[in-house]
């Protein structure tokens, strides 16, 4: 699908955990309908980068724009009401899918997908339900709408988590290693949903080690190492003809395995 304007723009993101300089000035623009995949070995900063983009981690330096909401890192005033409200509005623009699902265990599948729209966005209940059902159908979980998460398999939970993120109608979907906590035989069903979303033109930022998904669905691959972006480009270029040694070494481990 033809890429649109820049929807997500993270600029000069730096992050310290104590003295540990995890992100050393990362900028990332994502355009509408684009699927960007962040790859890199563990500790390269890719998950931290993703979490900084909706301020689940407050960056030490930098700014993030999603849609028409911009938040500048302000680590000295993380408790200020205005700052937190601005972060909250930024998060409304992004849907997040976590490694370990984080479904609400005390709510049914449907309630998981409606609490956000109803309580946060003020969508009327019947409309929120209809919307949630549409997304649950998309991830093929509609028949489980009244089940509690404890009765679902990992792959089913993650598909519900995707529907929950979609039900807020975000501008961008963020995936933090969405298949890493799954048994190998359940990975496929989640990737299939993600590929469908990517092909339908969702804007997505994906942190993952799934190289197959990368080839199938990503428009752009961003390889990170040591808290900086080393190399980026279309998957066929980065995966098949990497320019940098670090990229080559990383890929050798994954593609040969």
């Amino acid at each position: 699908m033809e890429l649109g304007e820049v929807v997500v723009s993270a600029t000069g993101i730096e992050k310290y955990f104590g003295d540990n300089h995890v992100l050393r000035g990362v900028s990332l623009d994502v355009r509408q309908h684009e699927t960007v995949m962040l790859i890199g070995r563990s500790g390269s900063g890719k998950t931290t980068m993703l979490r900084c983009m909706n301020f689940l981690e407050e960056p030490t330096v930098g700014s993030v724009r999603i849609g028409d909401i911009t938040v500048n890192a302000d680590p000295l005033h993380t408790r200020s009401r205005a700052h937190r409200e601005q972060i909250r509005r930024l998060r409304l623009q992004a849907g997040m899918v976590f490694q370990d699902f984080n479904l609400f265990p005390h709510m049914t599948v449907l309630q998981n997908c409606t609490i956000g729209p109803i309580k946060v966005k003020g969508v009327p209940a019947d409309q929120a339900v209809a919307n949630a059902e549409r997304y649950l159908d998309k991830v093929q979980m509609l028949d489980k709408r009244d089940e509690y998460p404890s009765r679902l398999s990992g792959g089913q939970k993650q598909r519900v988590a995707i529907a929950r993120a979609l039900s807020m109608d975000p501008q961008v979907l963020m995936f933090d290693e969405p298949t890493s906590a799954l048994d190998p035989e359940l990975v496929g069903e989640v990737l299939l949903v993600m590929e469908t979303l990517a092909h339908e033109g969702s804007t997505m930022i994906v942190v993952s080690h799934e190289m197959q998904f990368c080839r199938e669905a990503a428009d752009r691959v961003v390889f990170m190492e040591g808290g900086v972006v080393v190399e980026q480009g279309p998957p066929e270029q980065v995966l098949n003809a990497p320019e940098h040694d670090e990229t080559r070494q990383f890929l050798r481990r994954f593609l040969d395995a």
Binding site: L56, R91, M96, L103, P105, H106, I115, G116
Partner: protein, 270 residues
């Protein structure tokens, strides 16, 4: 075995399997029988030992009077535990608050109350305050003393319960754009309450027994009535034992209720 044979049909259990199952059933049954018999023998021994010089006529005359105190005991327990729960939620929120004033208030509350005897607190609420001109009705002085006391202990229970809710739950709610209060009310608290129910149930049982302490300020609950009946004719053993049995039955009953509640809450759990 059936799978290995490849027939697809489930093979009938071999005689040895049935024999093992039967033996297990027998063992379980005999265990339960011996367990019950142990209780029966011990209770019989205790009752016989304590009632050798028992004045049954006294009990026949007074049991209804004493039993009426159980109603007050239950009322005290329920009111106090409700007050304690409210205080405990507030206390836990204070203990976890980033606001140093809120945390300061909550932690001083817990420290003061846990560091002083409940009996002393009962005197202060009922009589100490009265000297300052604040005369509380005795029943409510008792409720406040017990509720404030248990609230302090339960503050720590709720705090631990809230902290036991996985961090990812909060993050998922934040990612949906929920404001802090909504996260607390709709995501964290409902899960924390599930976690603390067994501990709260435990405190409820303890509270039933601790209500007997308000005898010192003259609330006419179970023990008060037992003592006042027994004292007149020096039938302390009869009166006390009867009260003890009533307390015991109450705790058994409420343990059972609490177990049922726990099981029902667990149904939707992970």
């Amino acid at each position: 075995m059936a799978a290995i044979e490849g027939s697809g049909a489930v093979a009938p259990p071999a005689p040895i399997v049935q024999a093992i199952a039967a033996a297990q059933r027998r063992r379980k049954l005999s265990y339960q029988l011996i367990f019950g018999a142990t209780w029966f023998v011990l209770i019989a021994a205790i009752v016989l030992a304590l009632t050798t010089r028992f004045d049954w006529a006294f009990l026949a005359k007074w049991w209804q009077f004493i039993l009426a105190g159980a109603e007050v005991t239950i009322e005290l327990t329920v009111c106090s535990i409700l007050l304690a729960c409210v205080l405990a939620v507030l206390g836990a929120l204070g203990r976890l608050s980033p606001n140093p004033v809120a945390n300061g208030i909550a932690s001083l509350y817990v420290s003061l109350i846990r560091g002083t005897p409940l009996l002393v607190q009962i005197f202060v609420w009922a009589f100490g305050l009265a000297e300052l001109g604040l005369v509380l009705p005795l029943f409510w002085a008792g409720v406040i003393a017990l509720g404030v006391n248990y609230g302090a202990y339960m503050t720590e229970i709720f705090r631990a319960g809230i902290q036991a809710v996985p961090r990812g739950q909060r993050e998922a709610a934040q990612a949906l754009g929920m404001p802090e209060r909504l996260i607390m009310r709709r995501i964290v608290m409902p899960q924390a309450i599930r976690i603390v129910i067994p501990a709260i149930g435990n405190d409820f049982i303890a509270m039933i027994k601790d209500t007997s302490l308000v005898i010192v300020i003259g609330i006419q609950e179970l023990l008060f009535r037992a003592q006042s009946a027994g004292r007149q004719t020096i039938n302390i053993m009869e009166a006390s034992l009867f009260a003890a049995v009533v307390y015991w039955v109450l705790t058994l009953f409420f343990s059972y209720v609490e177990q049922r509640l726990e099981r029902r809450m667990a149904r939707s759990d992970r």
